[in-house]
Symmetry: C2
Subunit: 291 residues, 2 copies
């Protein structure tokens, strides 16, 4: 693999995350070598976004024909929803240059990884990834506000991944600003993410779903705002993630319902002593969680 500053990096899908990655890559290349020979390309169906990104100096060239871009790339970030990603790979697998390192940002991994493991060309290397960053405001226009500093990045490497490619990608991830990389299996990723991400989004949605008062924020003191910020969700993307990972998500919803029921019973019964004890355990457990 080339050094980062000499690589040609292609981004498929210049939305919020694709855009944020492009902005971070531009900074990495410039900081590494102001006269670098590397390039940042992007493919998108929206020509206006491509032009904006080029004018802003975020990308070197925009493409509305993905195959034309893919033939030059050393590394490709697939920044698409899971189903679109698999359709894209099915259609454009032949266009990648031999040896290309491919990675993605999809929030559910098992389905994609298993499809890619069986379907990927032998001369390509795919390292599944999930940058734990984002924003409730989507699109390239909001990409500049999506900061990677201090954030988590999950990788679920395959046995066939080349060590040099894995090292390259990890170096790049840290240089983009992420503070922690966790390597795990696709299955464990999906089980954990069902809790930390999908369950939290379902809860936020349910909270808003059960309150129609537009003036309710007059009674907000921070908790309500914190718990419902993510209710401003991208409905098609989250629907896809929920359904794709439904087995794990349903298990987590039921676990949560069990805990909620148990707290509810204590409140109903006025069990002061037991409630103080349980909430104390919760406080200690949250405090002991790292990060």
């Amino acid at each position: 693999m080339k050094v980062i500053e000499e690589s040609c990096i292609g981004i498929v899908g210049l939305g919020l995350m694709g855009g944020a990655i492009a902005i971070a890559l531009r900074r990495v290349m410039k900081d590494g070598n102001p006269q670098h020979s590397g390039a940042i390309f992007a493919y998108d169906i929206d020509t206006e976004t491509l032009e904006t990104a080029k004018t802003q100096g975020v990308i070197d060239q925009g493409f509305t024909n993905s195959d034309e871009m893919l033939k030059s790339c050393d590394l490709v970030f697939l920044c698409l929803n899971p189903s679109t990603l698999l359709k894209f790979m099915g259609k454009h697998m032949g266009a990648f240059k031999t040896g290309t390192l491919i990675t993605d940002i999809a929030g559910v991994k098992s389905g994609i990884v298993s499809a890619m493991e069986t379907g990927l060309r032998d001369d390509l290397d795919y390292i599944p990834g999930h940058p734990m960053a984002g924003s409730e405001k989507g699109g390239f226009a909001n990409a500049a506000h999506c900061d990677f500093h201090g954030k988590n990045y999950i990788l679920t490497p395959l046995k066939r991944n080349k060590i040099e490619n894995l090292d390259y990608l990890k170096t790049l991830i840290f240089r983009m600003g992420f503070s922690r990389i966790t390597e795990t299996s696709a299955a464990l990723h999906d089980a954990k993410i069902a809790f930390t991400s999908q369950l939290c989004h379902v809860i936020a949605a349910a909270l808003i779903d059960c309150e129609a008062d537009r003036e309710i924020t007059r009674f907000g003191g921070g908790s309500f705002e914190d718990l419902t910020r993510i209710a401003m969700l991208n409905a098609p993307m989250w629907t896809e993630l929920f359904i794709e990972n439904r087995e794990e998500l349903l298990r987590r919803i039921e676990q949560f319902e069990g805990s909620l029921d148990s707290l509810k019973a204590m409140i109903k019964g006025g069990e002061e002593k037991e409630l103080i004890e349980r909430l104390g355990l919760v406080r200690d457990r949250r405090a002991a969680m790292s990060g």
Copy 2:
């Protein structure tokens, strides 16, 4: 009522909120008139806290005998848990100076208000209040980080309140930094707060209650952190608030469970179209909520 800069204001309970109010009052008085004749007093059982606050210039004098303080105060902030507040008033009602304006910060209002309406001396004026600010980190030591700017303040005035006292308190609240005052009934306050505050705390606690992995934050991308920040709760205080307001809170928990069940059923059934539509409505509803 005197002008603010000439008032003697007493704080009963110099914890997180009592401390934050004292800090804000000190700023209000200094900004209003650097040579002001007003004073900020505090009563607490912790002499060390009183000394720290005095050394820092936050209070003018600390008292471990509340009656000694109360006899000089024009305005008293009761910064105590609901049950402690009622006990305090029962014991020290006789010590207040005639005409004193009393207010409180308790997170549940109906019980206190009804007790105060029947038991308060005729020559005292009590305006029930609830500053919607706080922090998961308690105590006077964290008071300086509790900022009131941009926050909500709820008042549930009584019919017998003097207009001049209500005006005085509202002016003071805005000058302390709060951006919005909502006047409502104690009953409506408790119904709304059960949703925006207590339900959110129960949800955060249930989330932590159902996950034992200390390393779970490796898989956090902001949502989990946002939804569980408030799980670092003051167990005795929240137990008291939950049980005191249990009727409204249980109603809200059940409403929330209904919405959660309905989203769960859609995920289970893979109802893509319905889920996109429902999440879209949630997004629109959240976006339409003011503040």
